[in-house]
């Protein structure tokens, strides 16, 4: 899922100071899965914003609505009936959803209530770890199902670097496993260490954001 985290409250308060009627809009898909932008979080943020703004001497009304997915126009449309009553929307969907809302309601101030940070999996309850970097050149078939782009702090193609800590943890974050350590362990378990001996050539990054903003067209699906 796409994961996001709440923006610091003072940052939101600063943005909302000039508004009176606010809509907090949530999304029931990715951001709900990472406990940042689902209905629960909408209902938590709404009273919090009200109180925080009151502390700044501002009285605001806060409406709430959580739609199934903010990245789909048909669901974004559900917010339309609330729009005439508000002068700002705080969306706690991912950056995609926030932009869809901003595009559908271009006359309204739309603020992000979260920072979208990664493509992750919920590894354990309350813990999400990045798994994919959307590099557009997937090598999972060569690294035994472990992504060195997203999970190596240096995105090495021929890791590990000399920084692997004891117990196979990453030099940059001791809470993270060194993915190249893990790749080696898996290769060893399968008796395929020789697959790691070939020098992998520089990656082609052009199929990702590095090649320019992504645009995908499927002629077979066009009207």
């Amino acid at each position: 899922m796409i994961i996001a985290e709440w923006k610091p409250l003072p940052e939101l308060v600063e943005k909302l100071k000039g508004h009176t009627n606010v809509l907090v809009a949530g999304c029931a898909t990715c951001v709900a899965e990472c406990a940042a932008g689902g209905e629960r979080e909408v209902e938590t943020l709404a009273p919090l914003l009200q109180m925080a703004l009151k502390k700044e001497g501002r009285t605001i009304t806060v409406r709430t609505r959580t739609v199934e997915r903010q990245c789909e126009w048909e669901f974004v449309e559900e917010l339309a009936e609330l729009v005439p009553h508000v002068d700002a929307i705080v969306s706690i969907a991912c950056g995609i959803g926030i932009q869809a809302v901003a595009e559908r309601f271009p006359d309204l101030a739309v603020y992000p209530g979260v920072n979208t940070t990664a493509l992750a999996i919920r590894q354990e309850p309350g813990m999400w770890i990045a798994r994919c970097a959307a590099c557009g050149d997937c090598v999972l078939g060569e690294t035994f199902g472990l992504c060195p782009v997203a999970r190596c702090a240096k995105s090495l193609s021929n890791g590990p670097c000399g920084g692997t800590r004891k117990e196979g943890k990453c030099e940059v974050d001791e809470n993270l496993d060194c993915v190249w350590f893990q790749i080696y362990e898996r290769a060893k378990a399968r008796g395929k260490v020789d697959q790691l001996l070939k020098v992998r050539k520089p990656k082609n990054w052009s199929n990702s954001r590095h090649g320019g903003p992504k645009r995908v067209v499927r002629e077979d699906l066009r009207p």
């Binding site: 000399g162 800590r165 030099e171 080696y184 020098v199 050539k201 990656k203």
Partner: protein
């Protein structure tokens, strides 16, 4: 066949035990800061590593520092990390460095920018990192620019750029059994010389080198044992606990702690480490580092009996 004809290369080819030292560029633009070090360290080594924004802390560039050293009569080993520059910038800087007379280059991954915010420094943990290519690929790039006159893209350059290519080796970092295999990869990619992470346990190091020798690696590339001059028992403890791949035997820490003059003991230990490295078959030299205190190096090198450096 000579790859680049540098002093380091010639020294190794002639069969001498080589010695390189490390010079950290200043956190400022003053060439005097480099010249001062050059004066202190002239004629005591066969190559002078100039670090590349080590620990992601902004310093005078490795190329600039290296050119200044060269002008002062110290043959530099330019260091290049993969953290800050993409392949276009790296290759461009290599062409420029060669034009300015650089002929030794050590290719390493580089510390993540998080490392820059430690101690009193704010650093740049918020900077974007590059890591377009990794150290292995950078080695290959240098090899192709030298031996085929071709860039990573496949486009040709107007003439080849002979470099003596270096790489790093951390034999004890986990997964330990893979480290010698990765060394083999680096040598296959084109590494001519290897400088290791600091070694404090020469016996253990000898086993790792023996494994490399068994694979035929010590004939293909010259391994220089990395040695850091210890200043205190606390420094040794810190390195043992915090620097990946560095293992300091308990006995050494105890010895330092018991010493009346820890600094002097540190010099003694360094000399012993150098002499132990000389006895390991397959080890062709040492790479000495005295972090932020390069001035102690001449005395230590002299005490180790490595002066004067052989004429090549």
């Amino acid at each position: 066949m000579m790859k680049a004809g540098t002093r380091l290369e010639k020294t190794l080819r002639a069969g001498h035990f080589a010695l390189t030292v490390e010079v950290g560029p200043p956190r400022g633009p003053n060439p005097e800061d480099v010249l001062r070090k050059a004066k202190l360290l002239k004629d005591i080594a066969d190559g002078y590593n100039v670090t590349d924004n080590q620990t992601a802390v902004v310093r005078m560039s490795s190329i600039a520092g290296a050119v200044i050293l060269q002008g002062a009569g110290c043959e530099p080993i330019m260091q290049m990390t993969c953290r800050d520059r993409n392949r276009i910038a790296l290759q461009s800087d290599l062409l420029g460095a060669w034009a300015l007379g650089m002929r030794n280059c050590l290719c390493i991954s580089g510390d993540h920018q998080k490392a820059s915010a430690s101690g009193k420094l704010k650093g740049d943990p918020g900077a974007k990192n590059v890591f377009d290519v990794d150290s292995m690929q950078l080695i290959s790039i240098l090899k192709d620019m030298r031996d085929a006159g071709v860039l990573a893209s496949g486009d040709p350059i107007s003439q080849p750029t002979p470099f003596f290519i270096g790489a790093a080796w951390t034999p004890f970092a986990p997964p330990e059994e893979f480290r010698v295999l990765r060394l083999a990869k680096k040598i296959e990619a084109g590494a001519d010389f290897i400088q290791t992470q600091a070694v404090f346990d020469m016996k253990r190091f000898a086993t790792a080198v023996a494994a490399a020798e068994k694979m035929g690696l010590t004939d293909k590339a010259a391994i220089l044992a990395g040695i850091i001059v210890p200043k205190s028992a606390r420094m040794l403890e810190y390195m043992n606990a915090n620097v990946p791949g560095v293992e300091v035997p308990e006995s050494l820490i105890k010895r330092m702690a018991a010493a009346k003059d820890q600094r002097q003991e540190g010099y003694k230990i360094t000399v012993e480490l150098i002499q132990a490295a000389q006895k390991i078959p397959g080890v062709k030299g040492v790479h000495l580092q005295a972090i932020e205190s390069e001035e102690v190096l001449p005395e230590i090198i002299k005490a180790a009996g490595l002066l004067p450096r052989p004429q090549v």
